[in-house]
Symmetry: C3
Subunit: 245 residues, 3 copies
């Protein structure tokens, strides 16, 4: 059972983060929090999210699973104004989610969660940690997009670099240590990533968010950040492309 009230921008933040990777998602409802783990269909990226009860204006729940069509959630979110409170009510009998926003009531069938098993979050040890404003990541992605389909992330004791190379051109965004929020890096590490995935993930992060990237050499990158005044925590994990040259 779930009955909750939540500001539309909080719900939008949650939906945007998840819908970058999947169209339908299984939310694990607990008495004190919502959690979600999902992998994209190509098994390249993963999201692991925890939303505490107090990210909601009101929250009362028993343990359950909610299979949600995220496109439908986006439709309903488009009907709300910023700051407006939305009411979510599970209708267990008809297996529906009922959403009230202002004078509008939207009833949507829940998605069958049989077969939507929770992916296992891999336990990897990434040697470098870079904390940076998401706006800087956006800038580096925008620069890379015209040059290549890939982006290399490099951390060194001096700073952080996003680098892309095409046939005739290359582009890099270099952030020396003093432009980073924090840097833990003993020796240079570098991994290459598919730009489209990295771009979609970073775009889903609200502007001005502090993102901590954990980087290794030819290893996945982890992006950690919080939303809803710290009451929601998100880990994104993205698999590397192995460089052929």
């Amino acid at each position: 059972m779930l009955h909750a009230k939540v500001k539309s921008e909080t719900l939008k933040g949650i939906v945007d983060i998840v819908s970058t990777l999947v169209d339908e998602a299984k939310f694990n409802v607990a008495v004190d929090k919502l959690t979600l783990k999902a992998v994209d269909p190509a098994h390249v990226a993963m999201v692991n999210m925890t939303v505490q009860k107090d990210a909601f204006d009101e929250y009362s729940a028993d343990e359950t699973e909610l299979g949600v069509d995220l496109d439908k959630m986006k439709e309903v979110l488009r009907l709300s104004r910023a700051g407006e409170v939305m009411e979510l009510q599970q209708d267990e009998e008809r297996n529906r989610l009922v959403i009230n926003v202002g004078n509008i009531t939207r009833r949507m069938n829940l998605v069958d969660t049989t077969g939507m098993s929770d992916p296992k979050v891999p336990n990897i040890n990434l040697p470098a940690k870079v904390a940076v404003n998401s706006d800087e990541l956006q800038k580096g992605i925008k620069a890379a997009e015209s040059v290549s389909d890939h982006i290399a992330l490099t951390a060194s004791p001096d700073g952080f670099e996003m680098f892309s190379e095409g046939e005739t051109d290359s582009v890099s965004l270099k952030l020396p240590k003093d432009l980073l929020i924090s840097l833990e890096c003993k020796e240079k590490v570098r991994s290459l990533f598919p730009l489209d995935y990295f771009s979609n993930m970073v775009r889903a992060i609200p502007a001005g968010t502090v993102v901590t990237l954990s980087i290794g050499s030819d290893y996945p990158v982890k992006l950690e950040f919080t939303m809803a005044d710290g009451k929601a925590t998100v880990d994104y994990l993205l698999a590397p492309r192995i460089e052929s040259d």
Copy 2:
């Protein structure tokens, strides 16, 4: 003969209302007013409009008919700024309309009105009357669009509802009596309408306009409103879809 000056936003309002249903229209010019009756090509919707002489800054006319290509009028309207006065002059000799806006002169051939007969406005008696702000209608339409191609309008002694139902989802906007501008309804009535027509008609109504809907059961809906500070009156009439279930 017609020679008139009119604020561009007034002319734009008139053109938008009519162009929702037809591409070409016959305006009946009288000494003291313009009137127009038109039916869309599929004979589903009708507009009946009267624009009084004093909606214009200047107006001098003899009884005549003007066949106008509304797309061309829109082109000319795009050349004007809000508040700018446009001059319309019929050139009877060459069967043209000459429009001056600022330093620009546009001359356009009039459309042949032979065969553009005035449709007969049906005399129907609709038991319920709901007056509502057009912004609320917009909101209900936006909510309905992702769910179904149809929208049901229901009036009851308690209020007004817009309801749409798809295969898996439904959505409703409920406006209780106190959120309406006025309500006359003795018993519940309900009719179903094609959403695209209803949406296009409501979108053509300027934001913040008071619209009076007359509703019956499985009957057409009538939307009445005024524009140009009450100097233009419009009736839209839309045929119902008969529900099969």
Copy 3:
């Protein structure tokens, strides 16, 4: 050799002017200025541009030629904010142009300039000169676009007119002498031009620029204007269409 710093809006102005006619361009670099002459692939229009050294924040150069892919320049310009200074550095060894904007470095291969010979600017004598704000030209073009693919420019001792005529409609923008910045015209002259070329050229001119048009009868039109506070001068030349009627 070229090493220069320049405000992004100055560089954007230069690139917009040239990219209207060609995708790749050869800039002639001199110690005190950049010059460029280019003809569009259909040989209908020509641009002749001189950018003085002091249009740049810093400028140091030896005589050389730079073949530039203008689409790539536009990509880099999109990474800059207004007012931001961009650094251009020729890497002669690798035949590259290195551009720094903020923390971003973009390296791009230069284009081979062999075979990109400078077009000869024809020496033509055009009897009428009309100086007008580019915003008025924009307005006339916008009015013409819905009516015809051609636009006639007419200068007379009384003023300047832009006129277009389609099968059923015509449109004109008349600017009497007192609405022009200056007018030198002894007798009426008129030439017809392809609207798409004229429109693209005028759109590349910054809003509010004073443009001097030199016009003859069935002769090319010359558009002269300055940019970067007068430190860059541009001539556009556009060939006429000969009227068949």
